[in-house]
Subunit: 292 residues, 2 copies
């Protein structure tokens, strides 16, 4: 029945992942390349050409801030400025469309179907080039008044740390220590330049003490930031996703240890879990969001 | 009509403030002393004896953590351990009863009727002996999975600051700098021991440069913590309440300046306002919460 089918569309900087979802089950999924030329104006037409037919609704997950009224406030990686892509999508397809930030979409999917299943409220932390997050409270994604809820990557850890310049213009933001980029930066400061985050974490897990100290520092900052976020929203659980979290329990347990060192006593029972949906999370979350 | 009347009951360590509220208007208000003897077992009977008659509902605002199921997890200032006061209240009166934390009650009142009126989401920060807070998102108070949402007082500012021992057992929590107690502590460290927070802020406002530096330090920490909380929940506005905030715009503008220095760029438009309901906020918020 097309009136129970929804498109989840996760628009990344290189690939668009699209799923057709019915009752939480993925009937089909595919991808199209993201054409960022010409300010990304081909992205939506390319998506629309790939769709097999009508649906009850769709949602776009985008790598940028989304205001509560559906205005996208720039997606640098797509070439998009301030725009309203849902209107163009609906004009092209006749399908009602919503839009949300990609970390928020992944958070929603992990809460409903993944690492946060069974909880009504989670903090989802996406550890990649930067550190994004999504806040699910009382079963709903909370995007914030300016679409900026969950910006845990910009919690101030050490404003005096001039070596920790952040892309946001400040110094000492959490993501300058705990993102993939941040972990590589810490390793370079410790005398190991030119390593990727994966190389660092793998070497640390294999017993390299100097690099383990780097990973410990990143996890200390992350645990402290998550403890701060939990003091504000007190979720039932925290779910770690993104590329860095693929290091699995080795990484998760270090974050849990740091969290337990910093957490307000009432929050000490908060479990830190791993995401389970991988790179499908954004697409699935978009489909769930399309269902309303 | 008794079926539209609600009791708001704010139980403080020395006084219980009670209001009878109908359609948001206070028909009558009074107080009874808080009898903390005998583990506070007279508190509820004393309240109940003062009530003029039946009502559609009541809510208790208490100075301690409240779990989502209505269990109160200790109120040291009342002599209460873990307890379920709503059941005793309903047994004594026949009136349905809810319970919430007092800072959460004040947050709800300020959002509906006070400094946050007109906004659907606010962070309320109560600056007193400690620093409490309440989170209102999408028009509802969000108490968290363990009743600990809004514990901004325990955001970690500087874990290495051994002089900043917090009542929670950690070091460098926000409230060790920005509460009334914290401001007195900072003044003592600067060579001015024995001053109350009000004396310090008044002297700073009157031109004492050394004490103004103390207030600036407290406001810097507070603005940084509020910026962190706003990065997580992105409310429309922030409302400052509690005794310290009675210093008014002198204090508010310093916090706004600090917030603007630390805030994530998308949150820069967040207004910092003053609470307007004073010591009635807890009672009014409890009555609003009783209405459900």
């Amino acid at each position: 029945m097309e009136n129970e089918r929804y498109y989840g569309i996760d628009i990344g900087g290189t690939t668009v992942k699209i799923g057709l979802v019915e009752n939480g089950a993925v009937l089909d999924k595919w991808s199209v390349p993201t054409d960022t030329s010409d300010n990304g104006r081909n992205i939506l037409p390319d998506i629309v050409r790939s769709l097999p037919g009508p649906a009850a609704g769709a949602a776009l997950a985008v790598p940028g801030a989304v205001l509560p009224d559906g205005t996208v406030n720039k997606c640098v990686n797509l070439g998009w400025g301030v725009c309203r892509p849902t209107e163009e999508f609906t004009t092209l397809t006749g399908i009602p469309c919503r839009v949300l930030n990609d970390a928020n979409a992944a958070a929603l999917a992990e809460q409903r179907l993944g690492g946060g299943k069974g909880f009504e409220s989670i903090l989802f932390v996406a550890l990649g080039t930067g550190v994004g997050a999504g806040v699910i409270l009382d079963g709903a994604v909370r995007v914030g008044a300016r679409g900026s809820a969950g910006e845990i990557g910009h919690l101030c850890i050490d404003p005096e740390d001039q070596a920790a310049a952040c892309t946001c213009g400040h110094h000492g933001c959490l993501e300058t220590y705990a993102s993939a980029t941040g972990i590589s930066r810490l390793a370079a400061l410790a005398g190991y330049p030119g390593l990727t985050c994966k190389q660092i974490v793998d070497a640390a897990a294999a017993g390299d003490e100097a690099l383990e100290a780097v990973v410990d520092r990143a996890c200390d900052v992350l645990g402290r930031g998550i403890a701060g976020a939990c003091a504000i929203i007190d979720p039932e659980a925290v779910v770690l996703g993104g590329g860095v979290a693929q290091a699995g329990d080795y990484f998760r347990l270090k974050v849990q240890d740091a969290f337990d060192r910093y957490a307000f006593h009432a929050c000490l029972g908060t479990e830190i879990r791993l995401a389970t949906l991988g790179s499908d999370a954004g697409m699935l979350g978009a489909a769930l969001y399309a269902m309303g």
